[in-house]
């Protein structure tokens, strides 16, 4: 099992280093291929097959373990039902919203193969998962890809390689955040007459998900196998016998036809011996094969430009027994491959008693069929009508498989050396043997290669500690970095790439924009503005009278504007949102609320400027106390008090109590505060005003409290 490690559940999926590979089907079984990948918050499904041995919902992979709407991507390797049979159901009956990809050839064959499958199933069984309509409607959602062309979906990159096996079959290389996975689907590394061998990817995957149908079996070498096949056929016809080759429709039929046609062409002495291909089967397939000639091997591609390699010179069609003149040596390919019934069975029964004749079983045999039975060399066989016949004809078995054998798999792994190998699509025992064999291969080597063979629903968890790299871009990158120098900017994450960018560069390097948020808040307020002015002056000391849209307004703390809308009985605050301004705004807001609602506050009305001598005298005394005797002068008219500190002068108008000081801000502040402090105190006691000044200086530390209650208003 995978390296055990405790996972911090706090880590969000896209930051986690955990890669989960979970077979929902094809885990220690053959059929219903469906493997889930989860990494960095992306979910990918590989294949969506049905189990041909089961029916109805039982035939589906374990879909109950997943949420279809969370899946980003679905990749289909080839057109066999155990790899794509559940696709119409998944697309039409679940809330899956992601994208689906397969090769062009797969899509073309998928359509007519499933169309027949659906119709036959609907007629012959009661439980059918989907209808012809569903299949038709699902077609539009399937996107096609070419071999070797990289596609990107939500940051997941993938491309496919030719897998051999069948026409259009693909192996997918998937790259998520720099981690590469290769899913082989079903593959064959052996080139045959019409399909190319599976390609060897040029990049090394970190994880290899590989089929294991044949476990540790080893196929005969292609050349030997073909030589044995043609040799056997030659022997049979040479001894004057008839050669029967039961074949599957498409499986290896073309392959055998191509081999025989070529052999006959090279052996003119055989030209008098007819080869029959009984039935029109697979011709339709051939038309698809001809259309997708690009997916085939170079030899066929070259040949197709000269003549059609699927038009055979030495092979004729045979419609049925009625049209067959059985007068001498001949070669007949007939279906079905298992000889359960039909033409192959008829021919077998009429030929089996003659020892000159021979039957060649090419391919895979199912238990319980005649084909399997005769391989055990019985003395007698039972005919369809129950009669017993002596079996005298020769019986040969030649395996033509479209799956990789142990040698191919082992060689494939040796060339790629992936740190992790995950076996799927194999019967439990075969898979176990294959795992043991692969592990043994690397036992004494330095290569760390782990082999997993998860059961259905069992997850393999792997960890890829991604070193996070962030590239510095734009103006931040204009200078060469120095040791100890700190870079400060905005970290931008896109898919699995990180960049550090100065805020001003955001617009040029990303599609992000810098925007300012202007906040606006209206508060019911019925008291006069002067009252508020008073309190706010108390608060900030730098009140500015201004007008906004012809309405009186105050600018407090330089950034917060308070507009008085007397007609509506409210005030509106406006400020550009940022951490500091928000703090100011909070303070202003609390003042407004206090003034507007607290009866106590309203009692404290600012003293109206009093035009009396005593008042001016007192103020002068206060200022003298604060700034020193020599700093204070009255002007000639007596209506201004001038405060001069360090050759800077502030003027206080005695009647209005306006303070003017263009030269020095701090002096202005001090004088203003003093004047205000004086006027606010009922008794205008000098000592109290000074104390109050101290209070004012510590006020900002109170008003920084959050959270703000302002309504957001974006400009």
């Amino acid at each position: 099992m995978a390296t055990k490690r405790k996972v911090d559940s706090q880590v969000p999926a896209e930051e986690s280093d955990r890669l989960i590979i979970r077979p929902l089907g094809a885990g220690q079984e053959v059929g219903r291929s469906c493997i889930m990948l989860e990494f960095k918050g992306k979910k990918i499904m590989l294949d969506c097959g049905i189990h041909p041995g089961l029916s109805g919902m039982d035939a589906l992979p374990y879909f109950d373990l997943i949420e279809p709407d969370e899946i980003d991507l679905l990749l289909i390797s080839h057109f066999h039902l155990d790899h794509c049979g559940a696709l119409p159901w998944f697309l039409q009956k679940t809330n899956f919203q992601g994208r689906v990809f397969m090769t062009h050839a797969t899509k073309a064959i998928y359509r007519w193969l499933l169309s027949d499958y659906v119709k036959v199933s609907n007629i012959s069984t009661e439980q059918m998962l989907y209808t012809d309509n569903d299949l038709e409607n699902s077609m539009d959602r399937i996107e096609t890809i070419d071999f070797h062309v990289e596609t990107e979906v939500l940051g997941v990159k993938f491309w496919c390689y030719n897998a051999g096996h069948v026409l259009g079959a693909a192996m997918f290389m998937i790259e998520i955040a720099g981690v590469k996975l290769l899913y082989t689907g079903d593959f064959s590394r052996q080139e045959d007459r019409h399909l190319m061998a599976a390609e060897l990817p040029s990049v090394r995957p970190d994880v290899l998900i590989i089929e294991s149908t044949y476990g540790t079996h080893i196929h005969e070498k292609r050349e030997e196998r073909e030589a044995r096949f043609t040799g056997t056929v030659h022997d049979i016809v040479n001894r004057g016998g008839r050669c029967l080759i039961p074949v599957f429709a498409l499986g290896r039929a073309q392959e055998l036809l191509l081999i025989l046609d070529e052999y006959w062409a090279n052996h003119p002495e055989l030209h008098d011996i007819p080869i029959y291909y009984a039935s029109s089967l697979a011709k339709k397939c051939m038309s698809v094969y001809q259309t997708y000639i690009n997916a085939m091997n170079d030899k066929i591609k070259r040949q197709i430009t000269i003549s059609n390699p699927f038009v055979f010179k030495h092979i004729s069609n045979l419609r049925g027994m009625d049209h067959f003149d059985d007068i001498g040596p001949s070669v007949v390919m007939a279906s079905p491959g298992m000889m359960q019934s039909g033409l192959s069975r008829e021919l077998f029964e009429s030929w089996c008693t003659d020892r000159r004749n021979g039957v060649i079983i090419a391919g895979y045999c199912v238990e319980g069929t005649l084909a399997k039975h005769i391989l055990s060399q019985p003395e007698e066989v039972t005919t369809m009508s129950g009669q017993k016949l002596p079996l005298k004809m020769s019986v040969d078995y030649i395996s033509f498989s479209a799956h990789a054998d142990y040698q191919q798999i082992s060689d494939f792994i040796r060339k790629l050396i992936p740190p992790h190998v995950i076996l799927v699509h194999g019967e439990q025992n075969e898979m176990g043997r294959l795992k043991a064999a692969v592990v043994r291969d690397y036992e004494d080597s330095d290569i760390d290669l782990q082999v997993h063979n998860p059961k259905n629903t069992q997850a393999v968890e792997l960890y890829f500690r991604g070193e996070k790299m962030a590239k510095v871009m734009g103006s931040l990158a204009s200078k060469k970095p120095e040791h100890g120098h700190k870079v400060s900017g905005i970290l931008v994450k896109r898919n699995f790439n990180y960049h550090i960018i100065a805020p001003s560069d955001l617009g040029s390097y990303t599609d992000l924009a810098v925007s300012t948020v202007t906040q606006r808040q209206s508060i019911a307020y019925n008291a006069p503005l002067s009252l508020l002015t008073y309190y706010l002056t108390q608060l900030s000391g730098d009140i500015e009278h201004t007008e906004v849209h012809d309405k009186p307004a105050l600018r407090v703390f330089k950034h917060v504007i308070v507009i008085h809308e007397a007609a509506l009985g409210m005030v509106t605050m406006e400020w550009v949102a940022n951490a500091v301004n928000d703090m100011y705004a909070d303070a202003v807001l609390s003042v407004i609320l206090k003034v507007g609602s607290d009866p106590q506050a309203q009692k404290v009305k600012p003293a109206q400027p009093i035009n009396d001598v005593l008042y001016a005298e007192r103020l002068t005394k206060l200022l003298k106390d604060m700034f020193g005797e020599q700093s204070i002068r009255r002007n000639v008219l007596g209506n201004e008090i001038m405060v001069t500190v360090d050759n800077k002068t502030a003027r206080v108008h005695v009647n209005t109590l306006d303070v003017k000081c263009e030269e020095d801000e701090s002096l202005f502040q001090m004088v203003s505060s003093a004047v205000l402090g004086y006027t606010s105190s009922p008794y205008s006691l000098v000592s109290s005003a000074v104390t109050w000044l101290h209070q004012l200086s510590i006020l900002p530390s109170f008003i920084g409290c959050y959270p703000t209650t302002q309504a957001l208003h974006t400009s």
Binding site: L113, S115, V120, V166, V366
Partner: protein, 430 residues
């Protein structure tokens, strides 16, 4: 109208346009030979103008004929290969622009989309099938289909082995799955309906008594006819042939009714659901289907139930052509012109404006092989692996040949034969 008709026939001529949609070309033949002779004047005074939507012919004495070409537009300045063929008239080729993309799609083999609406009708209550000729009802009273399902392609069984990479019991079982409908089933394909005997009024259907005493064999197809009018309705596969001259239900389990032989009625009112299916369209679809299933363009068509070895060689050329004709070329075959409907006339100043009738067709070469004639080609074809053999009931072979011969007559004379003794024919799809 009569006046127009008269004017139309007095010195009218045939117009024939063959449109090859895929290559955007139209071959136009104007049968001006007779007109030129009648005029007793120099035929060179006749002017022909090609316009995007019509062909205009100015005859002598200011007589003008205008023919509209529906659904395509001609490119006048692309006109080439202008040729006067003695005894016939003017030939030319013009490029086309197709306005109507729907028409250019070739008929898809057994695509359920083509007959989904028929399934809906068949699923509804009170539907009844009847013989198209005599309207004899064929279904048992109150017959209601529980399942109306599309049939798979004809050769599906041969491909089952390729459904999976491994042999397994299910596909094996499926392969043996019977496509025989149960009593409440109606299976449908693009050409026929397949019904269980139990759903039918067995007194209204019969098997055609073969005139020849051919041996009945299991798996052989027999022709099913209407008991009342003796017209063919479809076919049935023999399943039990132990006894000769049995009643039909003992010979077979199910019957296939050709869509072109039956009517669909609802609440005793005839619907025109199957109206577009004709014998000719049946042949056209049948040949197209066989071509796509077998990837074959050459066929040897043989009568299934005759001892003689007459056959028709069929060489399919294309399935996406259209032909346009005016009434003149058809009028000599009264029966056919009736079938093809009337032509729209439109008075237009001094001349007569006509819309050409358009037919989607499949184009083929054919040759009948009777006795020893043409044997050599037949023998050659028999050896050719790309040639596919087809078997149809003899009566259908004869009908196909008649249709083809008849249709050939509509082609301009110079376009009826090929060098290698084949006749050029066509079959209308719709």
């Amino acid at each position: 109208m009569a006046e127009v008709g008269q004017e139309g026939t007095s010195d009218d001529f045939s117009v024939f346009v063959e449109v090859k949609e895929k290559i955007h070309a139209a071959h136009i033949v104007l049968g001006l030979q007779d007109v030129a002779e009648k005029c007793k004047e120099d035929a060179s005074k006749i002017t022909v103008t090609v316009q995007p939507d019509s062909i205009e012919v100015n005859l002598v004495k200011d007589k003008k004929r205008q023919f509209k070409v529906p659904n395509i537009s001609l490119v006048p300045n692309s006109c080439h290969s202008l040729q006067w063929i003695p005894g016939e008239g003017l030939h030319m080729r013009v490029q086309t622009r197709s306005d109507d993309t729907n028409h250019s799609q070739p008929i898809e083999h057994n695509d359920v989309k083509n007959y989904r609406h028929e399934i809906e009708y068949l699923e509804s209550e009170n539907c009844q099938l009847s013989c198209r000729v005599c309207n004899t009802t064929l279904l048992r009273p109150n017959c209601q289909f529980e399942r109306v399902l599309p049939l798979p392609s004809e050769n599906w069984q041969e491909l089952v082995d390729d459904w999976c990479c491994h042999h397994n019991d299910t596909t094996e079982k499926m392969k043996k799955a019977s496509m025989v409908p149960r009593a409440t089933d109606c299976f449908i394909s693009d050409l026929y309906l397949s019904l269980n005997m139990a759903a039918l009024r067995q007194d209204k259907i019969a098997s055609q008594e073969s005139t020849l005493e051919t041996e009945l064999k299991e798996g052989m197809n027999m022709v099913i006819i209407c008991q009342v009018c003796r017209c063919p309705l479809g076919e049935a596969k023999l399943t039990d042939v132990k006894k000769r001259h049995q009643h039909i239900q003992e010979l077979t389990e199910s019957v296939k009714f050709y869509k072109h032989c039956i009517n669909l009625n609802k609440n005793s009112l005839p619907l025109d659901v199957f109206k577009s299916y004709t014998l000719e369209s049946y042949f056209a679809r049948y040949i197209t289907t066989q071509s796509s299933v077998n990837t074959s363009y050459k066929f040897i068509l043989e009568g299934q139930d005759t001892a003689t070895n007459n056959s028709i060689l069929i060489w399919l050329m294309n399935t996406d052509s259209k032909i346009m004709m005016n009434v003149n070329s058809i009028s000599q075959h009264a029966e056919l012109s009736k079938l093809m409907g009337s032509i729209n006339y439109e008075r237009n100043g001094t001349g007569v404006k006509k819309s050409l009738q358009t037919y989607s067709i499949i184009k083929l070469f054919y040759q009948a092989v009777w006795d020893e004639a043409n044997r050599s080609v037949l023998d050659q074809w028999k050896k050719d692996n790309t040639v596919h053999r087809l078997y149809l009931p003899s009566y259908l072979c004869h009908q196909l040949l008649l249709l083809l011969i008849n249709n050939t007559q509509h082609l301009p004379k110079s376009m009826r034969n090929t060098e290698n003794n084949f006749q050029v024919g066509f079959l209308k799809i719709k």
